[in-house]
């Protein structure tokens, strides 16, 4: 054990940083969720009071609803699109590298830049999308003020960001499937669509499971997208856009803790949310695992 100190030293940076910047704060926030704390003054122990407030806070439930809707609206097209794109790309002979990079670029672009771009494209009165619709004679669509369309725009943004990322993972999975399986399917007279649904998807199941879990965790944590799209200003400290239709749970946590100086309540929000994420990951796990006749 001790004779390996060099190796331990080499891997220690991650563990030290994780301990200091993730592990300790996580448990400190759990402790905070039982206190009332404005960030500077004395902490006051309030027991489960913050969670009681949470239970009867309509804005919290609204934010949960928003988050789940945005998550569904973005995860389904993201994963499906990624799988389709990966399959297409898998059969491409030339320019493979170019396509891979092109489809992956959105994911490495700064999220703030993408959000600003989307905000300009979908702007109600002067956006590109409404301008294009206008040429076809469709009247302007209120992308950034209608409660549903706000969610659609945020979901689109997330789809744009994450499709390429998941596609790369699927592509790796596809390349691991032996060609002989496909040849056998072709011999049996299966068309490309049928092959996709009956060969590709079942074999890819563990990889799909992985992306579903990752996307659940990622998708539920949407924060920057609505924050940048509906940046608050000094005159209006509200977040999440008109009617709070884009207020995700993490954004609400940020507002409570850092704008309203209510750190205890903010901590309670994220811990309640943590429980929710765990539940949803388990449900997804079950759904994807189901129907696996081993």
């Amino acid at each position: 054990m001790l004779s390996y100190w060099r190796q331990y030293l080499a891997i220690s940076p991650f563990y030290l940083i994780f301990l200091g910047f993730s592990f300790v704060p996580v448990f400190y926030s759990l402790y905070l969720s039982f206190q009332r704390y404005d960030g500077l003054g004395t902490k006051q122990f309030v027991g489960l009071q913050q969670f009681e407030f949470l239970w009867s806070d309509p804005v919290f439930w609204l934010s949960i609803r928003n988050t789940l809707i945005i998550w569904v609206l973005s995860t389904v097209p993201t994963l499906f699109g990624a799988l389709v794109l990966a399959t297409l790309l898998h059969s491409v002979r030339r320019f493979k590298g170019f396509y891979r990079i092109a489809l992956y670029v959105p994911n490495v672009t700064s999220i703030v830049a993408v959000a600003i771009f989307f905000g300009a494209v979908f702007s109600n009165d002067f956006g590109l999308v409404n301008a294009i619709l206008g040429t076809v004679g469709i009247s302007p669509v209120p992308w950034l003020s209608d409660p549903w369309l706000i969610k659609v725009v945020i979901a689109l943004l997330m789809t744009w960001m994450w499709t390429g990322y998941n596609m790369i993972i699927y592509l790796a999975g596809l390349q691991a499937i032996p060609q002989s399986v496909y040849e056998a399917a072709r011999m049996d007279g299966a068309g490309p669509i049928r092959t996709f649904f009956q060969i590709t998807i079942p074999i890819m199941r563990p990889i799909i499971l992985f992306t579903v879990v990752i996307s659940t965790i990622n998708g539920l944590q949407s924060f920057s997208e609505p924050q940048v799209l509906f940046a608050s200003n000094a005159a209006n400290q509200n977040l999440g856009g008109p009617g709070q239709a884009g207020l995700t749970t993490l954004l609400y946590f940020y507002q409570s803790a850092f704008l309203d100086n209510d750190y205890g309540y903010g901590a309670a929000i994220v811990w309640a949310f943590f429980v929710l994420i765990i539940v949803l990951v388990v449900i997804n796990w079950r759904i994807v695992q189901r129907g696996r006749k081993s």
Partner: protein, 427 residues
């Protein structure tokens, strides 16, 4: 960047060691930076809070006694300051800005700051507007903030559009016509008749927040009771809703304000600094705007303070520096250099401020903003005020975005505000 493997590993180990150290000594830290006559002072502010030119002059002016280092902090200033103050130690700046909308939330922790009255603010406080000074004062009279600037409101309007609509366009006449909110909305109705497709206000929230600011009471009273459901707030709410029901509301809650101002938006109610926003959003409307008094009386929006944290390494000198930077004379320079509207009334009579403004067609706008600044009512702002106000603003956007019924929106806003008040320990 060329990096050998060994160099990289060394760097990694050092970083890890350093981060381990910061973790090890985070949170603790001693409170004093040695004796209280430090020669190196640090100052935090954010871009546009102070005139960089005046700050540079201050550095040279005090060079013989003090080395002043200023840093412009980006991002969420309040959050960074709170974190630093909570951590304590020598990283705490000796002088720091605090935004006007945040000052109330720092007052419960006034013990983290020095009382400026002890350092000589008492002697010069008469040079600054009382209502502004009071907002940075605790109940027992401790002064934590030194006023930098204020945001007196006015009515900005397109004089040429008013002319086109056959309305009076001279500032004095418009002010007389738009004395109260109702008069102003009546004016707007006429304007809309004459020029279809134009709006009077950008959104209900801006009317609501100014209407609240015109009063002497806000959402929480001095005995820490929630009063956000009472008549004065209801009246401000109804005023905002009236603009909406009359069809004068452009319902702009996104970045499209920039493209609308000066085109479909013919008037704006806003603070003095708002002139810059209009100017940068609609440069081609230069010379066509005028300002006059706010309908229903002046209010304040924004404006900041300088404070000295308790850890300040040299309180006497630091106070000398801030009172020099914010002296009436230097405030005139700050106004010229960075359009920072001073909190010292005697500056209003100085040439820097009395000149004509080209953007407003040569109007001497200080004649509107000066009296407004001095007439702003003294009001009490509780630490939780902005948090309690948030649901009202959110519900107003719900009316605009979803067509929610104003009465339902009011009920929801009040019940949410009550809950936030309870969470923050208001009864």
């Amino acid at each position: 960047m060329d990096l050998s493997r060994r160099g990289f590993l060394q760097a990694a180990v050092f970083t890890a060691a350093a981060s381990g150290l910061t973790v090890a000594c985070g949170g603790g830290g001693s409170d004093s930076g040695g004796t209280k006559n430090g020669k190196n002072l640090t100052m935090w502010y954010w871009g546009g809070a102070l005139s960089d030119k005046v700050v540079a002059e201050a550095k040279t002016h005090f060079k013989s006694q003090i080395k002043l280092t200023s840093s412009s902090i980006g991002g969420d200033f309040k959050q960074k300051l709170t974190t630093t103050l909570a951590a304590g130690g020598s990283s705490v700046p000796d002088i720091t800005g605090i935004k006007g909308e945040d000052i109330a939330s720092f007052l419960p922790n006034a013990d983290r700051f020095l009382d400026l009255n002890d350092l000589g603010f008492k002697k010069i406080s008469s040079q600054y507007l009382e209502w502004k000074t009071k907002l940075a004062q605790t109940e027992d009279g401790k002064q934590i903030g030194f006023p930098i600037d204020i945001g007196p409101t006015a009515l900005f309007y397109r004089a040429d559009q008013f002319d086109k609509a056959g309305l009076p366009s001279d500032p004095a006449k418009v002010a007389a016509e738009a004395k109260s909110w109702d008069d102003y909305f009546a004016l707007g109705t006429e304007l809309k008749k004459a020029l279809p497709g134009t709006f009077l206000i950008n959104n209900m929230g801006s009317v609501f927040s100014i209407a609240v600011g015109q009063g002497t009471t806000r959402f929480i009273d001095q005995d820490n009771h929630f009063i956000g459901d009472q008549d004065h707030i209801r009246a401000a709410w109804d005023t905002a809703v009236r603009a909406y029901t009359l069809g004068l509301d452009a319902k702009i809650n996104d970045q499209s304000w920039n493209a609308a101002v000066g085109k479909s938006l013919t008037t704006e109610v806003g603070a003095a600094w708002h002139a810059l926003d209009i100017e940068s959003a609609a440069p081609d409307t230069k010379g066509k705007w005028r300002v006059c008094a706010t309908p229903g009386g002046p209010a304040n929006q924004g404006g900041s303070y300088l404070t000295l944290p308790k850890q300040c390494r040299n309180p006497e000198e630091a106070f000398k520096i801030i009172s020099w930077i914010l002296s009436p004379d230097n405030n005139a320079k700050s106004f010229t250099d960075a359009s920072i509207f001073p909190a010292s009334p005697e500056t209003y009579a100085m040439p820097a401020m009395t000149g004509p403004d080209d953007f407003f067609g040569g109007q001497k706008i200080i004649e509107v903003f000066g009296p407004a600044a001095e007439a702003i009512p003294v009001s009490y702002e509780a630490p939780a005020d902005s948090a309690v106000m948030a649901p009202f603003m959110a519900e107003l956007t719900s009316i605009e975005a979803k067509g929610k019924k104003p009465d339902d929106a009011w009920k929801d806003a009040v019940s949410q505000a009550k809950q936030i008040a309870r969470r923050q320990g208001v009864n």
